[in-house]
Symmetry: D2
Subunit: 357 residues, 4 copies
Amino acid sequence: MSKDSNKPHAMQPEDTPELRALYRGFEENHLNPLWTQTANLMPPHPKPEAVAHIWEWEKLYELAKRSGDLVPVGRGGERRAIGLANPGLGGRAYISPTLWAAVQYLGPRENAPEHRHAQNAFRFVLEGEGVWTVVDGDPIHMSRGDLLLTPGWQFHGHQNISDKPMAWLDGLDIPFSQQMDVGFFEFGADQVSNLETPESSRGERLWAHPGLRPLSGLDDTVSSPIGAYRWANTDRALREQLALEDEGFSATVSPGHAALRFTNPTTGGDVMPTIRCQFHRLRAGAKTLPRRDVGSSVFQVFDGAGSVVFNGQRHNINVGDIFVVPSWIEWTVATDLGVDLFHFSDAPIMEKLNFYR
Amino acid sequence: MSKDSNKPHAMQPEDTPELRALYRGFEENHLNPLWTQTANLMPPHPKPEAVAHIWEWEKLYELAKRSGDLVPVGRGGERRAIGLANPGLGGRAYISPTLWAAVQYLGPRENAPEHRHAQNAFRFVLEGEGVWTVVDGDPIHMSRGDLLLTPGWQFHGHQNISDKPMAWLDGLDIPFSQQMDVGFFEFGADQVSNLETPESSRGERLWAHPGLRPLSGLDDTVSSPIGAYRWANTDRALREQLALEDEGFSATVSPGHAALRFTNPTTGGDVMPTIRCQFHRLRAGAKTLPRRDVGSSVFQVFDGAGSVVFNGQRHNINVGDIFVVPSWIEWTVATDLGVDLFHFSDAPIMEKLNFYR
Amino acid sequence: MSKDSNKPHAMQPEDTPELRALYRGFEENHLNPLWTQTANLMPPHPKPEAVAHIWEWEKLYELAKRSGDLVPVGRGGERRAIGLANPGLGGRAYISPTLWAAVQYLGPRENAPEHRHAQNAFRFVLEGEGVWTVVDGDPIHMSRGDLLLTPGWQFHGHQNISDKPMAWLDGLDIPFSQQMDVGFFEFGADQVSNLETPESSRGERLWAHPGLRPLSGLDDTVSSPIGAYRWANTDRALREQLALEDEGFSATVSPGHAALRFTNPTTGGDVMPTIRCQFHRLRAGAKTLPRRDVGSSVFQVFDGAGSVVFNGQRHNINVGDIFVVPSWIEWTVATDLGVDLFHFSDAPIMEKLNFYR
Amino acid sequence: MSKDSNKPHAMQPEDTPELRALYRGFEENHLNPLWTQTANLMPPHPKPEAVAHIWEWEKLYELAKRSGDLVPVGRGGERRAIGLANPGLGGRAYISPTLWAAVQYLGPRENAPEHRHAQNAFRFVLEGEGVWTVVDGDPIHMSRGDLLLTPGWQFHGHQNISDKPMAWLDGLDIPFSQQMDVGFFEFGADQVSNLETPESSRGERLWAHPGLRPLSGLDDTVSSPIGAYRWANTDRALREQLALEDEGFSATVSPGHAALRFTNPTTGGDVMPTIRCQFHRLRAGAKTLPRRDVGSSVFQVFDGAGSVVFNGQRHNINVGDIFVVPSWIEWTVATDLGVDLFHFSDAPIMEKLNFYR
């Protein structure tokens, strides 16, 4: 339709006083005819307003640090988090129609108060040490490469016990929940409720053993009971895939492209009901197969460097850079020296509602 | 937060040149700080922009009829469908953030061309006869009280073989698919592809037998293979519920309130992945228990009359009237003489993504 | 192994005093070496002790009638049911290793007391009228062609209110439950607990509407809540399949072979956790495709006549005849004038445990 | 019924010539009346012929070793495996009606040929080193405390590369498959197909990372893709449960009783369709809550010592001892100094077929 169609628009009647009266009647009665808007409402394929875009880490981090100097963290604003606003979405802090991505910054000895919300959240740590996120009373240490979960309706706060600031990536389903009217929110303790700083969280100690399920936890859970996916495990799993490929076995997604999905051990499914988290490693000289999906994806370069192509244009990407790929946009990543990419998306929404292709 | 909170907004720093520079930096780099917008992004409970609203059938039908006189149906505009635009949603033809509801009008001997789309659709018939909707080549007769399905990506068109116009309710997930960028669309035949006018569709003949599944159809389907849910069956099921209640057995939802869900016989689940269809019958003097849900519902009075209360205000409802109840708005329907209500909602979305409460 | 193998049995050591001492040690300690029994324990494919066999209705009915004269029905023996004992299974009333099939006979005005058991049961009615089976207090009328369910742990009894005897087919999973030690049993009322004789049971009135689910019944059930699958529906569904085939549409399993599965409307799956019930109709001149399955099947000719081939031998089958097909035996049914076959099997066991091929 | 019932056996008619003729008629026609056998067929609760029994490791091992001297391993007998024959089951090598348990013994430098079967199998290693089991070409090192899987229809053989013999526990569903006629069997290579002896199998390298799923393995599998569950992980998970209990958190099944289930990471469910594998650790002074289940369980003491009570009798258990608990027999384990128990059962069968209570 529209540009994609040469069909005559048969339903555009002549402009007459009667037609104007009819259209006025529509307006007065909160009605809106399909025939004046079909092409926008029902495009031949997804035509997102959101655009593919890259945020450079250097600039992100610089602004986050400046915020640390100028803006105190605390109740009301809740978090010193700076949302990435997709240039196509009119200034709202939506990186895509479904996803929120932000850089959160916590200064030395700072403390972000506890709250909970129906929205699902995670943190992914590019660098730094010394922060514990406390999720439903369980203190979870945050280190480079770790993925930390805060599934919907679990109380959480953060504390920095070190003398250095720390910054990380926050991912949530805020745009989805805001547009679909599903959000709930509650304040919790003004300070994190548990000041202990153990190396391992209780969730990990109970659940992060490969293929082993505690008999005290036989009921499946909607979100993963593993609060922290540690970098050492992620890195080892990726290394093994590439080593198996070297030995001639099928283990990677495509040549030189190792990849894994973070999953809920009670079901084997995604870590949270709306957000998929994955990790990709490309060996030197490799590139991903071009693909496009219904739904949107966000990537952060964790290590190495390379380039991403969307809409036929190549862009360099370096450590910390974050980029978004909206629905049905084709993308490819390539690298000369190797690159590690953290990846999250709204694929669980698309798959469960059968819009995935 | 905001009105719901008396907490100080700790994160509103003093307005200084440095802060202004920071905010300018945010803007230039497509960033948006959380602390300036938390209350809107994360309300204590869903605060929909959509409002509860009633459209009177008399006016709807009058305007649909006028459209029949003035606007030819055909390729491009595709359908003579008049969308109900929620007064809170800025004039877009969204009855809620997820759902589309429209009155479609087909004049004597008219024909609506075939197309298909990823969006899921149904028709519910308030009155009239003589139209066949053809879904993937299967002609489906439309009569008063029938629910007809057009699940995503099935070709469909309509033809009116009578000398009278016919109008019905169309329901789709267009707002969801448009906002979430999941829509696909394709033109089909300019005329419906099958001009036969059987009383029963092939889908019904194969599938609409209680608890009986053809051995040629053992694979579960995403949407119901029953293309038409006939009024005679719906009516009988509701009558039996009330009769069982009269005989002292548990069969209704609450006293005097019979209700059923239209389901996919291959799974027992909803008829389509995003839309739930139900039917309610209140006997004379009954009323529904007050309830509020995450997600939005649309109702059409099929028979009888009564009143609906939302936000503490009572409104009369009569045959054909359509009303919408947005997320987390409490509603109750009561009736003196009995009322039949068709009901559709986005509950499958909310349940599958675990936002339902 | 065994006949299928020419391999030397390498593990048959010489008979020495030491070996005898070893084997004696095994025996004394309740041990049994694999190497003396592999071929039987692990055959190349299922080699059932059960054999394919046909029971003629004429003889079955005659003996059932004689039992009616000689054996009173009542507490302790519980049912005047005559089990079909597979000739290969040593005289036990097992028609196969998993299934029980019996002809039950209830004289004029007789009453079979209530009990319940973990075993799943159904009745299928070849002929007769006047008996009500009462399942958890719900009286269910039994008529020719009806399938009546008594899922595990539901109280049930029968009463004959007519002046004529009635006989029907009982199917249960007794052999499975006895061999696998899963059975529980409890006595109930000595007379059926509800003496009403309605035409329709409450289960049907609430549930037997195509694709319509009561909102009072949204929790899935392990077994079907439809207590009675009526012949009129079964017959109509089969007729429609053949009519659709005549019109050129895909509806049958193979040419001239209509077939359906009785299902649980809450899931679309089998009516009970261990037993599958199906119905086949072959039009005049048709035959089924040869097939063999892991697991056993029992068939009763409901109408018409034909022949069945197993192990390369053809046998005539007439109304009422019952035959069993054990695991991995190939079978084909053919008919000159048309035949209707009721069919039950243990396929749910095989599928759920992944032994199905 | 029977002892549990005082009800008169109303259906035992007087012994007359007519009755004898009737019973003769039954016999000639392969029929068997229910009323002569109800109590056995349908007991008030499971009354297994299998009995609870303990096999002492010392004797088991001694006999296994003797077999190593006297019986060569090879094609035909296939395995030097000595089945534990439940004393109640008539000498067949069934430890219960569903399960097979055997001690398998492989001498220095011996090799057990490859084969595959529909039956599901695992090995659990009490002691020893130097054997690799090769499953579908993947060599899997076997060490003390490891659980190794051989799911149905995967080729497998074993080789001992050391100069010492090795013995371990084999568990299969042979009795179920034999009685239910579901078994298939095929010979493979006479020598194991892969002579490499890596420390980690390919299945582990791809799959044994907590909560991490390879993108090359997104299809769920019926059985676990982790071929080896290593003792170091099992031990750590159990230690953490007890440590969490010490710290005051809910992590154990009951006080002092840590326990875990081995699971399929693609689903969170059991490792194989018919067999559940679990591990229990009781701290010094602890005991399990008494329980009884529908279905049978087999335990092997892995470490420590204690006692088990069944049928009101206490029995000492020491390292290596194996005991079986048939259906509906109550059992409790207690320990003064602590005990580790490997445990397998047929619970997946009972749960999937809804016989579990």
